[in-house]
Amino acid sequence: MKLLTHNMMQSHVKGISRRFPLLIKPETVRVVEQEFNPDFVRRMLGRIEYEALQQAMTWLGHEGKLPKDCPSEDENNEDILKAIHHALLEVEMVEGKLVCPESGREFPVKNGIPNMLLNEDEV
């Protein structure tokens, strides 16, 4: 699971108010190099919650690699964009858990694939 996906998701457990961000409990983390597309990163900058991305990087043990403040959507500095690209698409949780911030419901991540199914008594 990449951190872009983490940023796109929230807890969908019923009857709670605090859904975002899902807490991350990593077991295995890997870094896979991905092709850098500055336009894609800039477009995502306008959509993601930056604080949650920073928080997620800390959970995965990669704190301090992101700029302190969220860059604007017309950011041109390649180093800054590359740092965000690295956080969004290159740092990846392979095994671990996503945890609902309010109810504590755990969603397992295996082989990099989150299982976000609720159980039949939760829907």
Partner: protein, 470 residues
């Protein structure tokens, strides 16, 4: 004033999917900012699988080349030199008309080539006789270079649509076009992405040509974020990634996403560990286009709503409940001893009403598709119903861009619906609940309607379901 160029856009003769071809050309033209009125159905029928396009501000060689770099309905692009109803007419045109556009190529290394439309075979001597016939009217002075010509002169011969199966001969020739070859379309991708060449396949994996059509209709481009909520083996995501977009796929089936359980391949017991979405993408060296694959029940999904919408295109083939079940999480039973496998609980699933599948898909797209993005999906219809636009799902945020029918059998078709998102989810006239209007697809009711009791065996084949009462 300099002479204006004309280009010939030759379409593939294989016209199984005529509606798809026209819709694809419109979608690509819109992407390349070429006015779409240049590609009307009537022109195509009249000109028989080709378009002549004159150079102007909107139509440039660069744009047409870009279109060819995407299109699978285009066979090739040529710069028009001369055309006519017979070889004599073409020869005369070559002698008499202004040659300022082709003159620069007279000194180049060249080769001749013939493309046949509606004719299959032509012997080499006949071809060479035709090439030689241009000796008196086309002063090519360069060397002949068959392997790597600087100028490939293509003769396009059209023999008209055959009325029967008899082989076409010299006498049937109705039109000759001579031009300089520029580039081909992307027909070769149909072989590259054929289901048999993929790593991950399932029982309902989508045919490569249709996947490519869907990708182009969705106007996927480099750096787009594409989502398929019923991705399965990720057929459409493969072709989207081919055009350099980032892809996310989700499916309710844990087995398919994790590549566990029985394989759909003949002679293979279980799925191999690499038969996942990522594995399939890596098989085409597109691994870095994969954002993630997830196990999600689309009925209750975890996607966070943002103002702009996350996705640039949503391309999907929802299950219709015929070959693949429509399911969502839920249960009608009550029991305590849950079945766990490998530490994973497998929740019970209940039938997901077909109308709800499409209604939820449109509501989902209303929330998560960006303004101007395309929603592309298949919609099954029963051919005993009249199909018209009124029967398609409607939503105030979406405008129908194209509908292309694929006939499945005597009773059913599926229609590829392409919607453009024209209003943001916050527009005033979009109901907050985003009600999907006029959804009355009784497809399953009709598809599974049984023969009335007492039908004789010989009548069974002829029997057709009755239209649902209104």
């Amino acid at each position: 004033m300099a002479a204006k160029k004309t280009w010939v856009l030759l379409l593939s003769i294989k016209q199984d999917h005529f509606h798809f071809v026209m819709a694809e050309l419109r979608a690509l033209a819109e992407m390349m900012k070429i006015p779409t009125h240049h590609f009307s159905d009537a022109d195509c029928a009249l000109n028989n699988v080709r378009f002549n396009l004159k150079e102007d501000n909107d139509i440039t060689e660069a744009k047409l080349r870009e279109m060819c770099s995407r299109s699978i309905s285009i066979y090739g692009l040529y710069e028009l030199w001369e055309e006519g109803a017979s070889y004599e007419e073409v020869h005369n045109n070559f002698r008499e008309n202004d040659d300022s556009l082709r003159a620069p190529f007279y000194e180049k290394e060249f080769a001749f080539e013939i493309e046949l439309i509606h004719r299959k075979k032509m012997t080499m001597p006949e071809r060479i006789r035709k090439f030689d016939s241009f000796a008196n009217c086309l002063p090519m002075r360069g060397k002949i270079n068959l392997k790597n010509p600087q100028c490939k002169i293509t003769i396009i011969e059209n023999y008209g649509v055959p009325k029967d199966n008899s082989p076409r001969g010299e006498d049937d020739l109705i039109y000759v076009t001579v031009g300089r070859f520029l580039c081909n379309g992307q027909r070769n991708l149909i072989v590259k992405y054929a289901v048999s060449n993929r790593i991950a396949v399932g029982n309902t994996s989508m045919d490569a040509e249709l996947c490519l059509f869907m990708t182009n209709l969705a106007q996927v481009r480099a750096g787009s974020l594409v989502f398929d909520p019923f991705c399965g083996t990720g057929s459409m995501l493969l072709t989207s990634a081919h055009f350099q977009s980032m892809v996310i796929g989700s499916d309710i089936s844990w087995n398919v996403m994790m590549a566990k359980g029985k394989s759909a391949r003949m002679g293979q017991e279980n799925r191999k560990p690499n038969e996942t979405l990522r594995g399939a993408l890596e098989g085409y060296d597109l691994g870095d286009k994969c954002v993630d694959s997830l196990v999600i029940d689309n009925n209750i999904n975890p996607w966070r709503t943002i103002d702009d919408g996350w996705f640039d295109a949503i391309i999907t083939d929802p299950p219709y409940g015929v070959r693949e079940k429509c399911e969502k999480i839920g249960t009608s039973k009550k029991f305590d001893d849950w079945i766990d496998f490998d530490g994973t609980h497998f929740p019970d699933k209940v039938a997901y009403n077909l109308n709800d599948v499409f209604a939820d898909l449109m509501k989902f797209s209303n929330k998560h598709l960006r303004l101007g993005g395309k929603l592309v999906f298949w919609y099954p219809v029963s051919t005993v119903l009249e199909h018209g636009k009124l029967l398609y799902p409607r939503h105030p945020s979406f405008e129908l861009f194209a509908d292309c029918e694929q006939v499945l059998n005597m009773r059913t078709s599926r229609i590829l619906l392409v919607y453009s998102k024209i209003k943001s989810q916050h527009s005033e006239d979009v109901d907050a609940s985003g009600d999907v209007l006029s959804l009355q697809n009784g497809f399953r009711d009709i598809y599974f309607q049984p023969c009335p009791p007492g039908t004789k065996p010989e009548e069974r084949k002829q029997w057709r379901p009755k239209q649902a009462e209104k």
